[in-house]
Amino acid sequence: MTTTRAGAPLDTAAIRAQFPILSREVHGRPLVYLDNAATTQKPQSVIDALTNYYSTMNANIHRGLHTLAEEATAAYEDVRQQVAAFIGASSHREVVFTRNTTESLNLLAYTLGARLRPGDEIVLSAAEHHSNLVPWQLVTQRTGAVLRFIELNDDQQIDVDTARAAINANTRIVSVVHMSNVLGSIAPVSEISEMARSVGATMIVDAAQSAPHIPVDVGDLGADYVAFSAHKMLGPTGVGVLWGRQELLADLDPFLGGGEMISVVTREESSWAALPHKFEAGTPNIADVIAFGAALDLLNEVGMDAIAAHDADLTHYAVERLSRLEGLDIYGPSDPADRSAVIAFNYRDIHSHDVATILDRSGIAVRAGHHCAQPLMRTLGVPATARASFYLYNERSEVDALVDGLLEAGERFGFAR
């Protein structure tokens, strides 16, 4: 089985056997999937949960009085409990299902943003994904609030000092990425939460990359709201999570109006359903939420500590091997201990799109481009980078394949091996 003690190496052979896609070939070569920061692959148990739902219990939830509706509702609500336990929430009422991280953050920008006035400050970081930047830009257009940014330090990390420089008495909202999808660095979120609290600001954490890779406990983070996506942690696409402190969610106005989210509706007005249903208007993504439960089962079975240790080992190995290549630049913290599972790089003067196309011909999937973080690219002073990102099923031999693929790309562009 795949059960391991924290810190012990994972039995990747047994884990890989659970992911059917990992046995396919691409251009006649075994797939080497290193694009996990974009989305992860799905284990058979998640695929089975989807078909099982549709073949045995498909029904709309929270409405029907028949057996199917009862079973589907129970299965859906069970996953809410599972998510609450996974992130250390104090109640399942604090867990709202959305479509993805982006929708969770838009929900917050829309509802919290409505309370802002001209001159109020929203603090983000220099490393935000567009999904934690654009919604806040829209808020500034509507309200006259202004954006401020936590800069990167000399080691391309968000640190306590750069955060302190951006947070002040005018700060109303602080929203930062926990783990950067480009730099791989982990922000000191609990310290930043402390600073936000001391000025009375609301603290939001984009955990889209951290929730899959390191243990995330909302209590430890000290945040008010946390957002992440199921599809980046073995689950299906179309499911996001917004966690919020119960008293804060209760105080927030709804985002979308419609069925499910109401209590009493008259022609003129309505009252809202209890948490979390107030924020789940309309028929939710029932099948995919239920299948997300199977993904969480696997993450729990392997253990988030073990996954974090495995990712750290692969990251160390990859940084060590890549940095021995002549002409290879790695972005992000210099010490691999300060990053997790994501390595953005450029090789020689070969554009990252060419690198990605050439690697793809060897069956190796990496991302190339701006990674939905154009302002960060500008800060780093590069138009684009290639990015390799790992997960629990990746092995050192796949890092070796990446290095070989890069040497081949170099040869094609006229550099000797």
Binding site: E25, H27, S352, D354, I358, G369, A384, G414
Partner: protein, 169 residues
């Protein structure tokens, strides 16, 4: 699994990275803005960040010369470099026709390459086999269309996939 189609019609990296393309990428021709430009335009590809700036010197309906700047992958940059070489000395009409042919070569698999003479630019024909890279090849030509249309007082239909605009002229 994807590979069945490929076994009938094998796609090789050599189709994409022809020597001519790599040569223009490593040693770009006509790089830099032209001082005698009569019109300048730029464009970028939002999905990947490639960008091209183009300056064109047009005298008496003839393209006297072109200069380009920008950054991006080998395909986008070599396409621009080859374009500046190929269009120098052509009439506006002939430049337009060449642009149409290159764009057809990149996007229309019924296009008959033997019916035209595109010179070095034929090296770009392999790009059509790599769907995600077609826009890289098109970028410079979309910018050219914008510049030439401005020179003759026309407007080009807006292509939001590859936004272009006139910067002077």
């Amino acid at each position: 699994m994807g590979s069945s189609r490929e076994s009938q019609n094998p796609i090789d990296l050599d189709d994409l990275y022809r020597d001519v393309i790599l040569d223009h990428y490593r040693s770009p021709r006509n790089r830099g803005a032209r001082e005698d430009a009569t019109v300048s335009a730029e464009g970028f590809n939002p999905s990947c960040g490639d960008e091209i700036q183009l300056s064109v010197a047009i005298v008496d309906s003839t393209v006297n010369g072109l200069g380009f700047g920008g950054s991006g992958c080998s395909i986008s940059q070599s396409s621009a470099s080859m374009m500046t070489d190929a269009l120098t000395g052509r009439t506006l009409e002939s430049a337009r026709e060449m642009s149409r042919h290159v764009q057809q070569m990149l996007t229309d698999d019924t296009f008959d390459l033997d019916a035209v003479d595109l010179g070095d630019l034929e090296a770009l024909s392999g790009v059509a086999k790599f769907p995600v890279r077609i826009k890289c090849g098109l970028l410079a030509w979309k910018v050219l269309d914008q510049a030439l249309a401005n020179a003759t007082g026309e407007s080009v239909s807006d292509d939001s996939d590859i936004p272009t605009r006139v910067t002077s002229g």
